[in-house]
Amino acid sequence: MRARSKHQRLVLVLLAMAALIGAVLLAMWGLADRAAYFRTPQDVAAGRAEVGVPLRLGGMVQQGSIRKEADGVTVAFVVTDGPATVPVRFTGIVPDLFKENSGVVAEGRLGADGTFVADNILAKHDERYMPPQLGNQAAEMATRETVER
């Protein structure tokens, strides 16, 4: 009985280890093609964005670039981070704070023609709800502008 007792605890420990290792392996498998990388227009220009995989594109909405299409629910605009730009298309209701010269994160995929097709648009809500990625980027752009000046 004593030997069997040790045996059962060992089995449970091994099962728990297997569950944890299984969880990590499963997570790694799932993350391999389902995690969306954050990319800037410069990254896209440098070829650091694969076509057809989920991505988040972040930057500023370029001045004068917002165009509404005839159906009334599709919008095309250009995301810029200074040197580079990427055209974006989105069908849906844009967030209330989606404006020109304002920060934006588009979730979606890059098309073969170089247009980014967004499923979702996140705009800067207020300084208390700002994606940190965008926060850094806005700060960088601000610094750059100051330096250029």
């Binding site: 059962q8 993350l31 954050f38 159906d71 629910v73 209330d96 809500h125």
Partner: protein, 641 residues
């Protein structure tokens, strides 16, 4: 003076926590004096409650000389939002957190009578150790009572998304659940210190785990519905890091509440249960860290402050590391639990625990992966629904399948389980699966399986009642049945939302009619409307199905303090689903309309409610039985005397 009184109460409570820990460590050397640990815990709880009440008062009267009030409130707000705005910010929500922690310690000291005195001391010591760290965090890095000089003339207002009655209930409920798990943690640590891990500990721990779990369930379900109607995105779970932060302790607590039963009833799974108790509250603390440090993007992260982040991280390392270290040192000396066969109730519960652990692990990895990747390679990324749905969906269905047979197995050993008993649910599953191809030819495999498993589980959940006298069936069994039924209901709702939702997105001119699912929606134009602290554009829709016509008036609201716009969806609930309508922006003479028909989507929250109700029934059943046994024991003693 109100703010100073609150601050003084907090400092005093912190000092009492230090005293409580000191007494617990000194223990027997203090002789009878050691008993003061109980009143000290109670006083600490009361003082913290007092401090919290003072902060609520400051918010109610909008005392703008207090920095927190000035930054997060506004005297024009309706009183309910001034009240709930108390915890709609970083400092206030941390004070709520600490209040629940101290109050849980006080409740433990008052109500827990089963534990031996030594274990009780060690447990209250552990609770005090937790409290000290978080008092420190509050007083040093997040003082809610800090003054502002000179006081501004008006406050900056509350984030409009938070100006909803949901804020009054969702955070407090969630926190009660989150931090209620601290009691299980302290009991586990106390048991490790006294080397006394047995059924008595499990019976003491069980109601706390059950209570915290019920509140956590309600908090998560309410939060899900809140996000669903308030954000206007039509979704009910976004796999936002903050949602995950509440889901992870829930998963661990769900596993714990099953394993603690094995320990209480059979004396088995000792080390396992202790480990889960440590993990469950650790997940609560990790969740707090993720949310409050601001390292993750979310509507819940109020402010980004590296000092606070590293403070909480340090607390995490000390508490989790300490508990795990203690576990590693002491667990060898904990006696092996009672034996059981692989095919037995215990075996099924172990399987339940393992699957829940795997789900927890994958959610954990998915939530922290972006942080890890950014730290290692500087790459920024996000992990969202595609990952979480693909990984947790199938695991949840496997878990649900296990529920067909698990509750029917005998304790200890069931060499020949009667598989005919689950013939009906298995048939229902297979039939639903086959029929689904005829009814819905194009549907994702996961949704199809979801419907099939839900149909089977809806029947299987009642099987533990078969052959019982229903009037004499204990409440705990009813609780289990109802919770498991709730899982089936919720899975059906989630599958329906994923697979059967119909969506129409148009720009409509007044007078136009558009179709979504079985509904014809006529757009009758818009009107301006105004509320206490907002103005809005209100769309007028008339939805018809058959000869039923209903008016729906979704709004696009504009708040001035702080300037923000929100969408107020208009939702029509019918017996078979919800019609969800949102109005967007103006395009010439047209308005954007987003219309969803979501069949049986309400089952998601109905199921969640049933899960919580089941837990509540089980808790009442346990407490009732406990009370009766205690009365019985007293009577027996009196009769003997």
């Amino acid at each position: 003076m109100i703010a100073e009184a609150g601050l003084a109460a907090l400092w005093l409570a912190a000092a009492l926590a230090v005293l409580q820990l000191g007494v617990a460590i000194a223990g027997d050397r203090l002789g009878d004096l050691r008993r003061i640990v109980v009143p000290v815990a109670v006083a600490q709880g009361l003082l913290t409650l007092f401090a919290f009440a003072m902060l609520i008062w400051l918010f109610l009267i909008t005392d703008l000389s207090v920095q927190l009030v000035a930054a997060n409130s506004h005297s024009d707000k309706p009183w309910i939002y001034r009240f709930s705005g108390t915890w709609g910010n970083h400092e206030g929500s941390m004070l709520l957190w600490v209040t629940v922690l101290a109050a849980a310690g006080a409740a433990l000291a008052i109500f827990e009578r089963r534990l031996p005195a030594k274990a009780m001391q060690a447990t209250l010591g552990a609770q005090a150790a937790l409290a000290i760290g978080f008092f420190g965090f509050l007083l040093i890095a997040s003082n809610p009572f800090a003054r502002l000089n000179p006081a501004p003339l008006q406050g900056q207002g509350l984030n409009p998304l938070l100006q909803d009655p949901g804020l009054a209930f969702h955070p407090p409920t969630l926190y009660l659940g989150y931090v209620g798990l601290s009691v299980a943690f302290s009991l586990a640590v106390g048991a490790l210190i006294t080397r006394d891990v047995g059924p008595a500990l499990a019976r003491a721990m069980r109601p706390w785990v059950l209570g915290a779990w019920v509140l956590l369930t309600i908090g998560i379900v309410a939060g899900s519905y809140w996000a669903y109607y308030e954000l206007g995105w039509g979704g009910w779970w976004f796999w936002d890091p903050v949602e995950n932060a509440s889901l992870m302790p829930w998963l661990a607590a769900t596993a714990l509440l099953h394993s603690v039963n094995v320990l209480a009833a059979r004396g088995g799974l000792r080390a396992w249960t202790i480990m889960l108790a440590v993990v469950a509250f650790s997940m609560s603390m990790i969740g707090t860290f993720l949310v409050r440090s601001g390292i993750l993007t979310s509507v819940h992260s109020f402010a980004v402050d590296p000092e606070r982040g590293s403070f909480i991280l340090m607390l995490l390392l000390v508490y989790i590391g300490g508990a795990l270290g203690l576990f590693a040192m002491r667990i060898g000396s904990v006696r092996e639990g009672a034996q059981f066969d692989p095919v037995s109730r215990e075996g099924a519960l172990v399987a339940n625990n393992l699957i829940l652990t795997v789900i927890l692990g994958t959610v954990f990895v998915g939530t922290l992966y972006p942080l890890f990747v950014e730290a290692v390679s500087g790459e920024k990324m996000s992990v969202g629904p595609p990952y979480f749905n693909a990984v947790t969906g199938p695991l949840t269905l496997i878990l649900a399948l296990l529920l067909f047979i698990g509750p029917l197995l005998r304790w200890r050993r069931d060499s020949r389980p009667n598989l005919r008993r689950i013939a009906a649910p298995v048939m229902a599953t297979v039939l639903t699966f086959a029929l689904s191809f005829a009814v819905w030819p194009a549907m994702s495999a996961l949704a199809r399986l979801g419907f099939a498993v839900a149909a089977g589980l809806a029947i299987a959940s009642f099987l533990p009642l078969a052959g019982r006298n229903l009037r004499r069936t204990p409440l705990t069994i009813w609780g289990m049945v109802i919770s498991h039924l709730g899982i089936a209901v919720a899975i059906a709702g989630a599958a329906s939302d994923a697979a059967l939702t119909k969506e129409t997105l148009v720009a409509a001119a007044p007078g136009e009619v558009h179709r979504v699912g079985p509904w014809q929606i006529r757009f009758n134009g818009v009107d301006p409307v105004a509320g206490p602290n907002w103005t809005a554009v209100e769309g007028h829709l008339v939805a018809t199905r058959g000869d039923r016509a209903v008016r729906l008036d979704p709004q696009s609201r504009f708040f001035s303090d702080p300037p923000t716009e929100t969408n107020e969806a208009a939702i029509l609930t019918t017996w078979d689903g919800q019609l969800y309508t949102v109005i967007g922006h103006q395009e010439g003479n047209r308005w954007q309309l987003r219309l969803w028909w979501k069949p049986i989507v309400t089952f998601i929250w109905l199921g969640g409610g049933l899960i919580a109700l089941g837990g509540l029934l089980a808790l009442i059943g346990r407490l009732f039985r406990e009370g009766r046994r205690r009365r019985g024991a007293t009577e027996a003693q009196e009769a003997f005397a």
